[in-house]
């Protein structure tokens, strides 16, 4: 309006002085957002810790119903996706559009894999009446495990926490897949370069945080 800055790059919004200021601001905003995510999850961690300290034996027993190898597999899948998204940023910084797109697509596929594994885990639980909340009623036998013996006081709390934590985390994975679809399309249009890759960087930061949350959920719920 007042001063049309014809010499400025297309991505630079008028209220910033330089691309650098815009990049720093966006990244700082993203870190603040990540902190809000951490505090959102902190509520679930508090619930977990409180109930675990109150009923350690119930938590230990209930955790037996979770499959640590599927959980471990999913951990590695998410770590791999973190790796590919970091590679994607590397290629964006090197102006390598092909490398960027390939890695974004790989990240998306890893996220999908994670959710597919999660789907099988959930349905295996639901089949035996392991639901969050009032419907919690473990029954039936599979792989030599008698689910009915897990119907003990406070097992409901463990599985409520399990489903809510992994559910919120799964929702974040879903959001991440949406984000990666969006930036893959933008990357294909050639919108990103070493001069401007802020959205890639920020989606990457978000995705690493989703990974970190899982790094803690996995041992807490499946292993110990």
């Amino acid at each position: 309006m007042a001063n049309p800055h014809s010499d400025h790059p297309a991505h630079l919004q008028h209220h910033f002085v330089s691309s650098e200021q815009q990049f720093d601001a966006a990244k700082m905003g993203m870190w603040l957002f990540l902190v809000t995510e951490i505090l959102l999850f902190s509520g679930m961690f508090v619930a977990y810790i409180v109930y675990r300290t109150w009923h350690p034996e119930v938590f230990a027993k209930s955790a037996e119903l979770l499959n640590p190898f599927l959980g471990g597999l999913n951990t590695i899948v998410l770590l791999a996706s973190s790796f590919t998204v970091a590679l994607g940023i590397h290629y964006a910084q090197k102006d390598n559009k092909k490398g960027l797109v390939i890695n974004l697509v790989l990240t998306f596929l890893f996220a999908l894999t994670f959710l597919v594994v999660k789907y099988f885990e959930y349905t295996a639980k639901f089949e035996h009446g392991v639901f969050p909340g009032a419907a919690f009623d473990p029954h039936g036998v599979s792989h030599g495990v008698d689910y009915a013996t897990y119907n003990i006081p406070y097992a409901r709390q463990f599985f409520s926490i399990y489903f809510v934590m992994t559910g919120i985390h799964g929702f974040h994975v879903l959001v991440g897949m949406g984000l990666f679809t969006w930036i893959t399309i933008r990357a294909l249009k050639g919108e990103f370069s070493s001069a401007y890759y802020t959205p890639v960087e920020n989606c990457g930061l978000y995705w690493h945080l989703v990974d970190i949350i899982w790094i803690f959920l996995f041992p807490l719920l499946y292993l110990i």
């Binding site: 951490i38 951990t75 770590l79 292993l223």
Partner: protein, 131 residues
């Protein structure tokens, strides 16, 4: 433009970190199968913190980033610690006054029911009661 100042992590470094993360994951799954007594929880948590630190410092690039972002992240962790520890001040010491009990309301109800069931049932008042 000063974008050249942005740190570019080499593929080699990223791959090494990824390898380390996978190694730690396998380690934590395997050690969880062992019975280390009270060491299982601290070990699993130590490994998780190590993995998370690798992701934050290298993958998320906090090592090369503006210091203010590290402060923000640290503040977030600090307040998570506050939330956990101050809640535990209550839940770990619940009932430390002599005139309150430690159990939840449900525990108290269960206890009361237990006491009642041990009393001889006055069959005239509770005809349906089966001991």
């Amino acid at each position: 433009m000063s974008h050249a100042e942005h740190h570019v992590s080499s593929i080699k470094l990223l791959a090494i970190i990824f390898g380390g993360l996978v190694f730690l994951t396998v380690t934590t799954v395997l050690t969880a199968q062992l019975d280390l007594g009270s060491f299982n929880v601290p070990l699993a948590m130590t490994i998780a913190i190590a993995k998370a630190s690798l992701v934050v410092v290298i993958f998320m690039g906090l090592k090369w980033d503006n210091k203010v972002n590290s402060v923000i992240f640290g503040l977030g962790l600090l307040f998570v610690a506050v939330f956990i520890s101050f809640t535990l001040f209550d839940t770990l010491y619940r009932g430390d006054l002599t005139n309150t009990t430690k159990g939840t309301i449900q525990d108290q109800v269960l206890m009361e029911e237990g006491l009642q069931s041990r009393e001889p049932a006055p069959s005239t008042l509770q005809p349906d009661h089966t001991p």
